[in-house]
């Protein structure tokens, strides 16, 4: 037993002390730029870019990967509380939480750097991607106006269709449906050919909300959509009933795959990649996913077909991953210089080609894969709830999305859902008034 204990103690001491120094202990060194990120698929690309940057400028950049995202967020919270955030980091949360970091003095306002040289840096980005990280004058979060993060890539969510299955169903794969009648007709033709319609992660409710918002913009326009959030227009209005009817129509015309209401997006991606469904409602990240699951998949990208001619179709999108600079960094100038380099044309094209994410730099477009181009083409149609200066009550969003699920499974009618959502809205508005 003594020998056993001795062995353990010796092993413990030698192994704890006997390791070569690693790359982690000099985080506080002021010469090195340290970046924390969660993007596991980009680790190799970041490492290569850091090496390239060192060769160019002599500045060391250390990318440290912490994943999964929820654990990364915990680390960021802990580091913020102890004021040990690295030079570059990202916050995976909504604007409300980001604003609390900004107000606590953790995040640098990048506007002065964006404005330099006649706004040259700012002009390289898609304005809509930058807007996700922008706080306007008089914002509800009471944050000083400015841009607080740099978009590393952009994304949007559209409809993707399988060209081979379209052909099999007698549809023209080069001319996907553009209006509602064509879309419903496509659903019926696919059904007749024994092909499942659309798959999507509608079990993760936010994706239903995404498509519902798309059609709300198309049917009533942005102003009325915003007015509804403000409580100045009603969910019981005919336009909202039409938004809910979109889902009833899709169900009635066989456009939705079986089990879509409880489907998680990973499963939906598998189904589409394995050609078990002809349509998918998914984000631009799917290029990466489908490429991994089925490199031979022959697909096209289309905007959701318009329901109404009154207003243009808008899709959700904006910044994908964004990086922030610590306001307490000892290397602010060096860090900004590096971020400018990282978001420049060549580096963005390199990242797009290596990781299949849409570049945030508009100038890189000519050098990206064709599959990504199909998504980038529609960046002008992009919008995002966080770009609006108002936000809907979470309980109303939940009622809206669950109501749509009920319509899809045939439990409720669009009219019933519209009334129910409006009732929740009134209740929430009253609560808000009482709080004030």
């Amino acid at each position: 037993m003594i020998k056993f204990l001795f062995l353990i103690v010796v092993l413990a001491l030698t192994s704890v002390t006997g390791c070569a120094p690693g790359d982690g202990f000099d985080k506080s060194s002021s010469d090195k730029i340290v970046a924390w990120h969660w993007m596991t698929d980009r680790e190799d690309a970041f490492t290569e870019l850091a090496e390239k940057y060192k060769a160019l400028t002599g500045t060391d950049v250390q990318f440290e990967l912490y994943a999964p995202t929820d654990a990364y967020s915990e680390k960021i919270k802990g580091a913020a509380q102890t004021k040990t955030l690295p030079d570059i980091f990202g916050i995976l949360a909504d604007k409300r939480i980001i604003s609390s970091f900004i107000k606590a003095g953790h995040v640098l306002n990048l506007s002065p750097y964006m404005d330099m040289d006649d706004g040259q840096w700012e002009k390289t980005f898609y304005a809509k991607a930058l807007n996700v990280n922008r706080f306007l004058q008089g914002n509800e979060f009471e944050v000083s106006p400015g841009i607080y993060a740099v978009p590393l890539d952009v994304m949007n969510i559209q409809m993707i269709y399988n060209k081979d299955l379209f052909k099999k169903a007698g549809l023209d794969p080069e001319n996907p449906p553009k209006n509602w009648a064509e879309f419903l007709d496509a659903g019926n033709k696919l059904h007749a050919a024994g092909i499942q319609g659309m798959v999507s992660g509608w079990g993760e409710i936010w994706m239903i909300d995404c498509l519902a918002s798309n059609y709300a913009y198309n049917i009533m326009g942005e102003q009325k959509f915003v007015d509804t959030i403000k409580g100045e227009a009603s969910y019981a209005d005919q336009d909202w009933i039409e938004v809910f009817t979109v889902f009833k129509d899709m169900r009635d015309n066989n456009l939705l795959a079986n089990g879509i209401v409880t489907m998680v997006n990973k499963h939906a991606e598998q189904m589409f990649a394995n050609q078990r469904a002809a349509l998918a409602f998914n984000g631009s990240w799917c290029v990466n996913v489908y490429n991994g699951m089925n490199p031979d998949l022959n697909y096209g990208v289309m905007l959701p077909p318009v329901y109404s001619d009154k207003y243009p179709m808008k899709i959700w999108g904006g910044a994908g991953a964004s990086l922030m600079v610590s306001a307490r960094s000892k290397n602010i100038d060096k860090t900004i210089k590096f971020l400018k380099w990282l978001t420049a044309k060549d580096q963005q094209a390199y990242l797009a080609n290596k990781t299949c994410n849409l570049p945030s730099n508009k100038e890189s477009l000519g050098e990206i894969p064709q599959a990504l181009e199909q998504f980038v083409d529609d960046m002008d149609s992009v919008t995002h709830p966080s770009n609006l200066n108002v936000s809907e009550f979470p309980k109303v969003i939940e009622a809206r999305d669950k109501g749509i699920q009920s319509i899809i499974i045939g439990e409720k009618t669009p009219e019933e859902v519209a009334l129910e959502v409006q009732a929740v809205k009134i209740r929430e508005l009253k609560k808000q008034k009482a709080r004030k």
Binding site: F25, E64, A71, A79, Q81, M293
Partner: protein, 294 residues
């Protein structure tokens, strides 16, 4: 005349139904492992379409790719180090504490014991931010002594100490239950022979508790070997990370490289299976002897 036949049929049916039930339970335990191994031999495309348990064209090179791409060598060493140190620490501290609480007259020992039991209710992830702040204040997160080797040791201790702490409650609980059943006559005999308190613990109590210690070793080895979240929170830089970090390489933000992930997991699980097989006899003895008795 009918009775023996009735009992024979009853015995036969009971035996068969018991065996069928056990086979189903065994399959439910083994199938995920087989599926993991099977997926590790497929490609990213066939992993979703080929449902066979052993693919027609097995890709054995996945293991090599996973090992090199994931940088398993360094992480393997780190995990081995953390497991040995943490499990040794837990066994040493819990056996001393449990013996003290069970056999010695210490004022308030029951209160101490219940405090340890209460600690079992708090999972580490629930205390992440508080733990991060505490470790930072104690200087474990960003040591800057000017001696890189010392900094390295301090950072590793910042991971090892919370892990030891997290294993104490269950260990003390199990060993105390074991020591409580130890006959007092044994201690009296040892005392008559001139044995000190530590001598009784060392020569009598500890050897008797081997089955319970085996259970503690396997439980904690599993915990430490599979641990990742705390490492990610506390450790900075790849060089100090455990084996589970290597698996994250294959889990992308939007896509997971399943065959490589499964190959990596198969590599990761092998040491655990070996340890389990080595300690199997003691674990069963420990459990059946009441080591985990409530």
């Amino acid at each position: 005349m009918q009775k023996p036949i009735y009992y024979k049929i009853k015995k036969f049916m009971l035996m068969y139904s018991t065996h069928i039930l056990l086979i189903i339970i065994s399959l439910s335990c083994i199938l995920p492992l087989l599926w993991m191994f099977s997926s590790s031999l497929k490609t990213q495309a066939t992993v979703f379409s080929d449902m066979s348990l052993f693919p027609q064209n097995p890709h054995w090179e996945n293991f090599y790719i996973a090992w090199t791409k994931g940088g398993f060598g360094r992480y393997f060493f780190n995990s081995l180090l953390y497991t040995i140190v943490v499990v040794s620490g837990i066994v040493f501290i819990t056996s001393l504490a449990a013996y003290g609480i069970s056999r010695l007259k210490i004022p308030g020992k029951n209160v101490i014991f219940y405090v340890f039991l209460a600690a079992m209710m708090i999972p580490i992830p629930g205390a992440f931010v508080a733990l991060y702040v505490l470790l930072n204040k104690l200087g474990f997160l960003n040591p800057n002594t000017g001696f890189p080797l010392l900094d390295n040791v301090i950072m590793r201790l910042g991971y090892i100490l919370p892990l030891i702490n997290s294993g104490l409650s269950l260990g003390i609980y199990m060993l105390k239950t074991f020591f409580d059943k130890m006959p007092g006559d044994l201690e009296d005999s040892a005392r008559i022979d001139g044995c000190s308190v530590f001598g009784i613990y060392w020569h009598i109590a500890l050897p008797m508790a081997k089955p319970a210690i085996a259970v503690i070793i396997i439980f904690n080895t599993l915990n430490v070997w599979n641990e990742y979240l705390l490492a990610m929170l506390v450790l900075t830089g790849k060089s100090l990370m455990p084996l589970t970090r290597a698996l994250m390489v294959f889990r992308g933000t939007h896509i997971t490289e399943y065959p490589l992930l499964m190959s990596g997991m198969t590599i990761t699980v092998i040491p655990i299976i070996i340890i389990y097989l080595m300690l199997q006899k003691h674990i069963i003895a420990g459990i059946t002897a009441g080591a985990v008795k409530g």
